[in-house]
């Protein structure tokens, strides 16, 4: 009986007395922990405990689904950059997820959620939780909440990496990630989700069309402007030279991973699953989230067929994601047909915004700005269409606040990085590819390709 694995450890408290190293870092169980056991032995389940478990389980499931989105971004971006930059893109995604986790523990969480009180940011300090073996107060386990919030900040950082691919140096990118995940995202996140000033005003963003996606998009846009376009993307005469992505199946896989993860992203943002009403709402969110993505795909397919006479698979994939971003600000109140329409408008935005950005010579390698920034704005604006507790005015104030702060601060940070360590590889390194030039490991070393297109 595996259940007995833990016979020696018991259901009671772990009286931790750290014998050797690191004693300050380990945690001691509060003695009250032992009082939890009797409750479980009662004939009937305690309503509070049952709800506590369901709520925590929601965070854990939502958390691992959103964690999985890190793989989705990695695959999507690996598929949409050219072969010579694929290893680098994979590395950046693994690294940024890791940095986000650490920074959000060391700085971010408290900055976002502790003592915001209607203000502009919280406290500084490493986050932590009660020691093992103890029961938690409140409606869910503290660490599950941290885990769930942490994976969101990683999402914002992933968005930046896609736009700036194929020309940014590794280290300045990682430094920006430190700042974004440790400071910028938590500060603006506190405004709404930490009960800061925008929450007090009534701004509404259920799962983060603005707070997560647009924030990533604004940071990416600032980076794209400071960094400049990839060499060869724009001709002197305004011509746009496409640089097709290396692998459509990886891009497709990445999109499906993100789609799957989004059920955690939106569904678990209900933040409670312990009542009929809550789990019914989560169900609505699942259905609406899926339908918005379907709407985005179908809109992108129909529109590219009509405009270009050929369906563009990358637009269809972007359309799915734009549909998902669009419904993220309010996945609960729309009816299912409305959800399809909200998502479809996201898909339309992508189809028009991608070439528009090219006209402006803003080189966004994977389409992150249309998908996350523009569809994020649309989704946030659409909230009052179905949620009567919100107003267009407040939504616009929120959108502007997030935009001004994130775009502004990002611009400054990118400029400082550019001025100090430099952010862009040399022309030669760019031609050679970042895989060889920066990290010395090719993505497909036996693929002899000079990168010449057929």
């Amino acid at each position: 009986m595996t259940f007995k694995r833990y016979a020696g450890v018991g259901a009671g408290a772990l009286a931790l007395s750290l014998v050797l190293a690191l004693p300050a870092l380990a945690q001691t169980a509060a003695p009250e922990a032992a009082t939890e056991a009797p409750a479980a032995a009662a004939e009937f389940a305690s309503a509070k405990d049952t709800a506590f478990i369901f709520n925590t389980l929601l965070f854990l499931m939502g958390g691992f689904l959103v964690m999985w989105m890190a793989a989705g971004f990695a695959m999507l971006e690996a598929g949409l950059v050219r072969t010579k930059n694929v290893s680098m893109q994979c590395l950046k995604n693994v690294a940024l997820y890791s940095i986000a986790g650490i920074m959000y523990l060391l700085v971010g969480y408290n900055l976002m959620y502790t003592n915001v009180d209607g203000g502009f940011f919280g406290s500084f300090g490493v986050y932590g939780w009660p020691a093992s073996g103890t029961a938690n107060e409140g409606d869910y386990a503290v660490a599950s909440d941290w885990f769930f919030q942490m994976v969101f900040v990683a999402t914002a950082a992933s968005i930046v990496s896609g736009t700036l691919a194929e020309r940014i140096k590794l280290w300045p990118f990682l430094l920006f990630t430190v700042i974004l995940t440790g400071f910028m995202y938590p500060i603006t996140g506190s405004w709404k989700w930490g009960q800061g000033w925008l929450d007090a005003m009534g701004f509404s963003d259920f799962a983060g069309s603005t707070i997560v996606h647009s924030v990533g998009g604004w940071a990416a846009l600032a980076g794209a402007l400071v960094l400049g376009a990839r060499r060869g993307k724009y001709g002197p005469d305004g011509a746009v030279h496409p640089l097709p992505g290396s692998s459509m199946p990886l891009a497709t896989l990445g999109t499906f991973i993100l789609w799957l993860g989004w059920f955690g992203f939106n569904g678990a943002s209900q933040l409670a699953m312990g009542t009929n009403s809550d789990v019914s709402d989560i169900s609505r969110i699942f259905a609406n989230t899926n339908l918005a993505a379907c709407g985005g795909v179908v809109a992108a397919i129909l529109l590219t067929q009509v405009i270009y006479k050929k369906v563009d698979i990358t637009m269809a994939l972007n359309g799915a994601l734009a549909g998902l971003v669009s419904i993220t600000a309010e996945p609960l109140t729309p009816g299912p047909v409305t959800a399809i329409i909200i998502g479809a408008i996201g898909g339309v935005i992508v189809v028009f915004a991608v070439p528009m950005l090219d006209k402006l010579k803003i080189d966004d390698v994977v389409g992150a700005i249309p998908v996350h920034l523009l569809a994020g704005i649309w989704g946030t604006l659409a909230v009052p269409l179905t949620n009567g507790e919100t107003s267009f005015g407040t939504q616009i104030i929120g959108i502007l606040a997030y935009g001004v702060f994130t775009f502004g601060v990002s611009l400054v940070v990118w400029f400082i990085l550019k001025a100090t360590m430099g952010i862009r590889v040399s022309a030669e390194e760019e031609a050679l590819g970042l895989d060889k030039a920066e990290i010395g490991v090719e993505a497909y070393p036996e693929f002899s390709g000079s990168g010449m297109r057929s």
Binding site: V240, P242, Y308, D312, T314, M315, D358, G367, M452
Partner: protein
Amino acid sequence: MKIVMAIIKPFKLEEVRDALTAIGVHGLTVTEVKGYGRQKGHTEIYRGAEYAVSFLPKLKIEVAVPADLAGKVVDTIADTARTGQIGDGKIFVYSIEKAVRIRTGETDGDAL
């Protein structure tokens, strides 16, 4: 000895190989190449931007043969690789001075 070098459409390879075997040519070397010529390629659209695909996939066949067989090889390739559509490719013939079979060290005619 001559080398007959032909640029053909990829899907014609098997047919050409069979025809050459039929006239007694039992060895050849194939390379994947890209061709640019009168067959102008096409324009594609990727994420809303047009671009010209001007290099088309072709195969290059190289066959070393005794000089007297070269004409027949050229004709055979030309006949079997022809579709009549633009882009069928070219055949070039040039002389080689020496041929060696690595395995045995045989040279010239014996090496082919």
